[in-house]
Amino acid sequence: MNPARLRKLKEWLIERAILLSGVFSVVFVVLIFLFLLREGLSLFRGESVLDFLFGKSWYPISEPPRFGILPLILGSLLVTLGAAAISVPIGLAAALFIAEIAPGRLKEGLKAGIELLAAIPSVVIGFIGMITLGPFIKKLFAVPTGLTALTGSVTLAFMAMPTIVSIAEDAITAVPRQYREAAIAMGATKWQTTWRIVARAARPGMVAAVMLGIGRVIGETMAVMMVTGNAAVIPSGMLQPVRTLTATIAAEMGESVQGGSHYAALFAIGIVLFVITFLINGVADLYLHRSRK
């Protein structure tokens, strides 16, 4: 075979391989969702959807069992919002600092540090949170246990931050130099240029960074199970133990009987998580496409 034909064949093969992996990733997601539906929907033969979503008690092994996931939804929400409130402002500020202000050496050091932080497995962060942050919060607020929603939020913020910082930093660095030049040439200060022009220009990327960071928080399981105290009750504040949707699945799946209603309820929680993630991605996508046009 001559080189030109060989090259063409190679092109063809690569294109097919890429197409195939694209198709597969969609097929897998669809299959996972179908599987979730198949295992989870049977719960609603005996239980109404509203009772499931808004029921206040989660007693899966009492007789009769109660499958209300409102406490779990609120637990997830509380921990997630808390983590976002901590990680978003700090993460974005850090990204601006690294991209715009930090001089060469410091910048490289910080970027390496962020990557390192991103590489720490979440169990390890959870473990560190459990043995250091937990006791600290217990003492600081004089509460009966240090394993609370707040502990979970702080721990999760540590996990969201590398994602937020590195993606936002990329977006800020990608802002064309000519915008900065134009602002400086008009007599704007460094700060005015950074804040009013660069941050505005990088906004879609910064939104994406936040979405992905929060996405990681919502999906996080192990760390949150270790530090939030795992009480499936409706939380009344940040200093109480809570339990999240993901932690519930992880903690109880092993004890449930395959095919039983508890088992189905855990899959139904999976459906809820899937839908939430799907919605968040959808909103992020919409925003990115709208502002890119």
Binding site: Q178, Y179, E181, A182, A183, M186, G187, R200
Partner: protein
């Protein structure tokens, strides 16, 4: 101090990028309210000289300046010189149109809020005037809140001129402002320069000799970092005194 009627003056200006000397002993007097063109082959230091006048070279690491540069009679490289004020008085238009990724309105209001030049209630009026001055008002008055990036290249470049006008600069620096535009748009911008020079001193860098001949009152020819010849445009193009200048404008190199 400069003589009356001189907007920019350089005395023995040298500029180094690290070890490389990009400008050598440049002596120049730019008259007020005229269009002064800087021509010369690519790499001869035209942009570098232009960026001395608003100290944009300060952003380049390793750039050093020697000699004296007076803008409006003030030594802009004197210790303690106010850079932000200087850039308020000396506006710049770049080679590629670079409107901010904001709305048309915000592009023009940016300078006003940065320098706190006018209370917010006057912004509408000032924005309108700036757009009128660059003949964009009729086209854009219904699209003030739209993104400036959606405009045509010519409109973008006009907007880039418009956004420095509210600062009431004395000098407008333009670095090949038409090189990204088509010939018709180029003529439009040149016409605009003729109108603006009633109120502003304009220094334009161009590698297009026809443009210099058409649009400028004075021309400086630069070569290898030196200002070889400077004088009235008509004279430079008809009776150049230096052989280098003659060779360049006859198209023998470039």
């Amino acid at each position: 101090m400069s003589a009356p009627g001189v907007a920019i003056e350089t005395r023995g200006l040298d500029l180094f990028y690290g070890d490389f000397q990009a400008l050598t002993r440049v002596e120049l007097q730019v008259p007020e309210r005229e269009v002064t063109a800087l021509i010369g082959p690519s790499g001869c230091g035209k942009s570098t000289l232009l960026r001395v006048f608003n100290r944009m070279n300060d952003l380049i690491e390793g750039a050093r300046v020697g000699g004296t540069v007076l803008v409006g009679g003030e030594d802009i490289y004197a210790p303690g010189a106010d850079l932000l004020r200087l850039r308020e008085r000396v506006g710049m238009v770049f080679q590629r149109p670079n409107p901010f990724p904001l709305s048309v309105y915000e592009n023009i209001a940016f300078g006003l809020s940065v320098h706190r030049l006018a209370p917010r209630r006057e912004h509408d009026m000032i924005v309108e005037q700036a757009l009128r001055d660059v003949l964009l008002w009729d086209d854009l008055k219904d699209r003030l809140q739209r993104s400036a990036l959606a405009l045509s290249l010519e409109q973008q470049q006009r907007l880039c001129i418009a956004r420095v006008l509210p600062l009431k600069p004395r000098v407008l620096l333009m670095d090949e402002p038409c090189s990204a535009l088509d010939p018709i748009a180029t003529l439009h911008i040149e016409e605009l320069m003729r109108q603006l020079k009633r109120d502003y001193t304009i220094v334009i860098v161009t590698h297009n000799m026809q443009q210099a001949a058409r649009a400028s009152d004075r021309t400086g020819f630069m070569y290898l970092g030196k200002l070889v010849e400077f004088g009235e445009t008509a004279r430079i193009f008809t009776h150049p005194r230096q052989e280098l200048t003659e060779n360049y404008i006859r198209g023998r190199f470039g």
